[in-house]
């Protein structure tokens, strides 16, 4: 079921990207989109009643049902990359505010030299 939550979040994020006009809200939408994606990726590795793939004194034989650890590793990387793009996006938003005095894309104008 959890993958439906992920897809819902992805769709909310894309809806936000298409409808918002405020630069900060666009970055928030992008983050919601990435969050949904991460939830979806985690759900791919989910196994019902699975345990963490670590051999311990309690879980000490390989016949146990393990959760797939690879999607979690992928999500860790994706989160770090998302952080980088978010920071860069906020830096651009600040520069745009300094130059145009507004965060609304409709007031900035989309011309090639605006």
């Amino acid at each position: 079921m959890i993958q439906y939550a992920g897809i819902l979040l992805i769709l909310i994020g894309i809806y936000g990207l298409l409808t918002e006009t405020n630069l900060i809200k666009i970055i928030v939408s992008l983050n919601v989109f990435e969050l949904g994606l991460n939830v979806f990726i985690i759900s791919v590795g989910f196994v019902r009643e699975g345990v963490a793939p670590i051999l311990t004194s309690v879980n000490n034989h390989s016949g146990l049902v393990f959760v797939d650890p690879l999607p979690q590793a992928l999500v860790l990387t994706a989160i770090v990359i998302g952080l980088g793009t978010t920071a860069l996006g906020l830096a651009f938003a600040r520069r745009i505010y300094m130059k145009h005095g507004t965060l609304n894309i409709e007031e900035i104008g989309g011309g090639i030299n605006d």
Binding site: I10, I14, L17, L23, I26, L30, F33, E34, L37, F40, I41, V44, L70, P71, L74, T77, A78, I81, G82, G84, T85, L88, G89, F92, A93, R95, I96, K99, H100, I105, I108, G110, I112, N113, D114
Partner: protein, 477 residues
Amino acid sequence: MINPVLLIAIPLLLAFVSILYKGYRNNLLVFGALVNAGLVLTLGKGEYLIGGFKPPFGINLVLDDYAFLGLLVINGLFLLITLMSLDKIGENATVLLVALAGLNGLLLTGDLFNLFVFLEITAITAYILSASSRQYQHSFNYLVLGTLGSGLYLFGLILLYAVFGSLNMADLSLKMATADTSQLVIPSLLIFIGLGVEVKILPFNGWVRGVYGNSDSLVGPLFSAVYAGAMLLVFGRIFAQVIPLGAYLKTLLLLLGALTLIAGELAALSKTRIREILLYSSIGQSGLIVTLFLSGLVFPAVMQLFNNILSKAVLFTVAGQMADTTGTDDAEALQGAFARHKLAGVAFTIAGLSLIGMPLFYGFVSKINLLFGVFSLDNYWLPGVILLGTVIEGTYLIRLLVKLWMPGEEGLVSHESHATKAPLEIQRARVMGIVVLSAVLLVGGLMPGMIQNNLSESGRLLDETTPVYLFDLKGGQ
């Protein structure tokens, strides 16, 4: 034997060092680009494990003919463009070193998720470089589209992982070859959209106008040649060699590629600013090369790709230089500009004519090659579309060349007095660089046999229908 991971590791290390020693940033950049260009020549083909885990479990680097050709041209161009525009680099030396690492990683990796990481590294450096025009809203636009695109690419690859249980390209292509194509529709569409943002396919290329249209003589050639070349090579790797497409999906994507070609060329026809003409021509060429890759014509696609990026490096350098020194790049305001800059004008003309595919230049060799390939396909509309695109491209490029050489009104006798008074300056380093690039295009056109002989082995390998890269699945046995 030298491990190709050095091509990624050395620029990254130098990027860190360049933060510590700010005064030597540009020296470190030139050193890194030189070392990389030299290292490429010493590489041996093969498959290299990273971290000791055997594929399909671990990440591997794959150096086959396809990757080698790409590395050679991309690293060479990167070095040349850096040397040409050293005075423009300013704060960006560290970013350029990271970009070099990311671009080499893109071409070398044999793992889909690793490709995503390099895609993001490269894209982030591209966002930062695009901001050097101080038009931040365009950089922001690029960032949002690029992040959304690579997110969708990640979505597609995780669906592939969920279905086939692997991220290794060679392993996946084996597993997908026998799979039901209906399982592949959504993942391949998502990956197509994700890469489509970077390779400028029609509905996803809204960022190109703002970013390319404001580029200077460093960022313009870097984006239009180095970045575009690497991204298109990645596209070819994924769609011509890894993911098999079903018949209907293939027709749909081919239509998108052809539409990009015609729309890009038509948009270029209606523009008067030189950089805008060139950026729409870039979009059109991307559409053409994507179409060739999707049709399975890998060798003609790679030839045309090299023609496009070598020409665009020259054209964007001159156009960026015009805009930097005169403040405008309107063809009307710059008419007759080459009368005072003959050498740069000759290089610009060679690049333009090669891009159209005129005889005597390398573009003719690649265009005749791709036309032979396209006519041998069982497809009746594609050759017509490509020829139409070439005609439109010839029209606006020759019109532009005439304008820049011959000042005056259309239809009247040209006279020197109409020539532009704009204070156009082209530095000696840039002139030397573009002369070298146009000489490559000229030699490639005059001696097609040389290229044919040297590349025929790679070409034969590239055109085989089976995955061309070396792979050897050793894990789990």
